[in-house]
């Protein structure tokens, strides 16, 4: 059992847990993820590691209440326990120690961005970040991102904070202004990552995305997490989740992500009867 030592509500639907998991904390690296299960009949869901502290033996996860499991998780309090918490899984983000890196985070995709930006910033990389959300209240980790970015840009769809519009527009403007960028790291909803990929493609700017496919075991045993990268089938849980964006088959990834859409709806309905949201 893995105790929730701290809970913070980042937005009405986005929660942060600091979880007591010393073995995971000891080995975690930016870009990796964990698999969580919350009850005996529960499913295994992947969540990116948003921060970790090997000394304290804790791992931070951030989740949005979208499906049944995350909604049930939203009801847990400090001191409650998660049944299973396994990781760190997947490959760490590539190490970068110099040059200019632009981070683009959409929605709760800012969570997985944060540890990578922190590592690069501390290693001496010039970091600029663009974070976005539908509206100001849904923006997460703004203060944290400020501490690990030389410059932070904000975009909201409704203009309630920063640029009114998409993160991609801010990125395009930076490119147009001739800003140096060696690598762009984009994490967020699939549509947003794909849009960033199309912005950088014509300029040949190296772009990394972290894909988020359906997973079961997370150890390379089932192949549920197949993505096509550079024409080859990869298992995101062991080969990824970070891939070269210009090689990822987004059409396929989006389509595979919808495989269980109907069942998710059914589960959500069943869960609602149980007194959920």
């Amino acid at each position: 059992m893995f105790k929730i030592v701290k809970r913070r509500d980042l937005t009405p639907v986005t929660k942060l847990f600091v979880v007591d998991a010393p073995l995971v904390a000891r080995s975690a690296k930016p870009g990796q993820f964990v698999i969580v299960r919350i009850r005996e009949q529960g499913e295994r869901i992947p969540l990116t590691i948003a921060d970790y502290d090997p000394e304290a033996g804790t791992v931070t996860i951030i989740f949005q209440e979208v499906g049944m499991t995350t909604r049930l998780m939203g009801e847990l309090k400090e001191g409650d326990e998660l049944l299973d918490f396994v990781g760190p899984l997947g490959q760490a983000a590539p190490e970068v120690t110099e040059g200019n890196v632009i981070f683009v985070g959409g929605g709760f995709g800012v969570a997985p961005i944060y540890p990578i930006a922190k590592q690069y910033f501390n290693a001496g990389v010039h970091v600029e970040s663009i974070i976005g959300a539908r509206t100001k209240d849904l923006l997460i980790l703004k203060e944290e991102m400020e501490t690990v970015s030389h410059r932070l840009h904000v975009a909201t769809d409704d203009g309630s904070l920063g640029h009114k519009g998409f993160v991609t527009e801010v990125l395009q403007r930076m490119i147009d202004e001739g800003q140096r960028m060696d690598i762009v790291v984009a994490i967020g909803p699939m549509v947003m990552m794909r849009a960033v990929t199309e912005v950088t493609r014509p300029y040949g700017i190296k772009t990394l995305v972290s894909v988020d496919p359906i997973m079961v075991d997370g150890t390379g045993m089932c192949g549920a997490c197949r993505v096509t990268v550079g024409g080859k089938t990869k298992f995101a849980c062991v080969d990824g989740p970070i891939f070269d964006a210009h090689e990822v088959d987004f059409d396929e990834a989006v389509r595979r992500g919808k495989m269980y859409a109907e069942e998710e709806r059914r589960a959500n309905e069943a869960c609602r009867c149980g007194g959920g949201a």
């Binding site: 295994r44 150890t219 390379g220 396929e252």
Partner: protein, 465 residues
């Protein structure tokens, strides 16, 4: 002595029409009378040939004699001298290729039903026994780590605990048992039985830590640095193979591992009471001819598909699955398409499987495996309409451990290289066995390997002291 009955005593089973509507066990096991009747068929050979076929040397005629006398608990003790998981082996061992094929009765009549008797004895003991008088051996203060809780790891851990070692099993998944829990379905091996066997191992003093992926959460080198004096790797062969044909990533194509894990480990058949869904359409094709393929296709029937096919590129003679499983699948209405090989999977506009294009095959010269090589028949392309495809093409060892352990030598396909006698690898403190060494094999071979390695580890750790 009365004349020997030519035919073995049949074992009752659930009616095929009924059982495809549930996940309960298919074979129901012998009654006391049936078991005694079958046991009396055994000739009690002076030089029993059946013994040679058993990878863990179960004292077959001795235990059968005890069954014939009605001493079922005595029979259980006899089996357990060499086989710690008889309830499992009695259900899943390929007896027809091991002990039963060598039974002298089989020369003229049907061999003694050794597997059914083993199963009966183990079940009888579970229901009527006093519970094992498990003696926890005082600790010798020395720590050994075991990676993986499949039959190889459980057996090795149990044997080491009996020698006084402090054993910790590290298991990647949330439940112990390996393929016994995530692969083999409830209707063939009730999970209750696996749980009971795991409990027995725990009572011996073995600690089981789930949710630890060795190679990720900790490495073998870290375990050795943390005070474990030796490590046994029983991590199985979990990496699924695909065919690399067009359309394999369409929605509705599974590896058998994913499909079976969703059904068995995650209890997908109980969705939405259980949270993990498993999707099957109306027409399913399972590609492959092994036990895994039979399990997958029979699970799909129980999930309510209308047509279920086995697509196998060789002929019925070459099918590697246990004869009983093929028989059961046929009774349940599975359609077998032998000498057929898929070349591509066709999808609908929105990316779901709608059909599979196959070629007919004919058998040519024997290949490296000794089986006749299937060769495609020109112009034999044909379409099979299906909406779900399950690839059961075999598995290989997961590279995670070899890739994270310096100096651990493997074969070209990833099998860990060991000394056959002791299980020792190229790293003297690291031992291995089971599917991680051999590639996908059998429960009993994995158990045998776990046993040998326990002995090897004990010798290694006591050498010179």
């Amino acid at each position: 002595m009365a004349k020997v009955k030519e035919k073995r005593t049949p074992m009752p089973s659930q009616d095929p029409r009924e059982r495809i509507g549930n996940f309960d066990e298919v074979a129901l096991g012998y009654t006391v009378e049936m078991a005694v009747e079958e046991a009396k068929r055994c000739l009690q050979c002076k030089r029993p040939t059946c013994l040679e076929g058993c990878p863990v040397q179960v004292q077959i005629p001795e235990f059968i004699a005890l069954v014939a006398e009605g001493d079922f608990l005595g029979a259980a003790r006899k089996i357990k001298e060499t086989n710690s998981l008889p309830a499992i082996c009695g259900r899943v061992c390929p007896q027809e290729e091991q002990c039963e094929i060598r039974c002298v009765l089989g020369k003229k009549w049907e061999p003694v039903a050794i597997g059914r008797l083993e199963r009966f004895v183990a079940d009888y003991e579970r229901l009527h026994g006093e519970g094992d008088d498990i003696q926890r051996v005082p600790s010798n203060g020395r720590k050994v780590a075991v990676v993986g809780s499949g039959p190889a790891g459980l057996t090795c851990a149990g044997d080491l605990a009996k020698l006084g070692y402090e054993v910790t099993i590290f298991e990647a998944l949330h439940a112990p048992g390996g393929v016994l829990v995530y692969g083999i379905p409830e209707f063939r091996l009730p999970k209750e039985i696996v749980r009971a066997e795991v409990e027995t191992i725990r009572k011996l003093g073995v600690r089981i830590l789930t949710n630890v992926v060795v190679g990720k959460t900790v490495t073998i080198d870290q375990l050795l640095a943390d005070g474990y004096e030796a490590v046994f790797v029983g991590s199985g062969a979990g990496l699924p193979r695909f065919m690399n044909i067009p359309g394999e990533n369409l929605n509705g194509v599974y590896s058998a591992n994913e499909f079976l894990t969703r059904v068995n480990l995650m209890k997908g058949y109980l969705f939405p009471e259980w949270d993990t869904p498993v999707k099957v359409g109306k027409r399913v094709a399972v590609v492959g001819g092994g036990n895994v393929a039979m399990d997958a296709v029979r699970c799909s029937l129980r999930l309510g598909v209308e047509e279920a096919y086995i697509i196998y590129r060789r002929s019925e003679k070459e099918v590697p699955a246990r004869a009983e499983e093929v028989e059961h699948a046929k009774e349940e209405g599975v359609k077998f398409k032998f000498l057929t090989n898929p070349v591509r999977i066709l999808g609908t506009e929105d990316g779901w499987v709608k059909a599979m294009e196959c070629l007919r095959m004919e058998l040519g010269e024997p290949d490296a495996s000794g089986r006749r090589r299937p060769i495609p028949v020109k112009g034999s392309e044909h379409i099979i309409e299906v909406d779900t495809v399950i690839m059961a093409l075999g598995t290989s060892p997961n590279p995670l451990i070899a890739g994270s352990t310096s100096g651990l030598e493997t074969t070209s396909w990833g099998g860990i290289i060991i000394d056959e006698e002791t299980g020792q690898t190229s790293r003297p403190e690291v031992f291995a066995g089971g599917d991680a060494v051999t590639g996908a094999a059998t429960v009993i071979l994995a158990m045998g390997a776990g046993k040998r390695a326990a002995k090897g580890i004990h010798e290694y750790l006591t050498k010179g002291s």
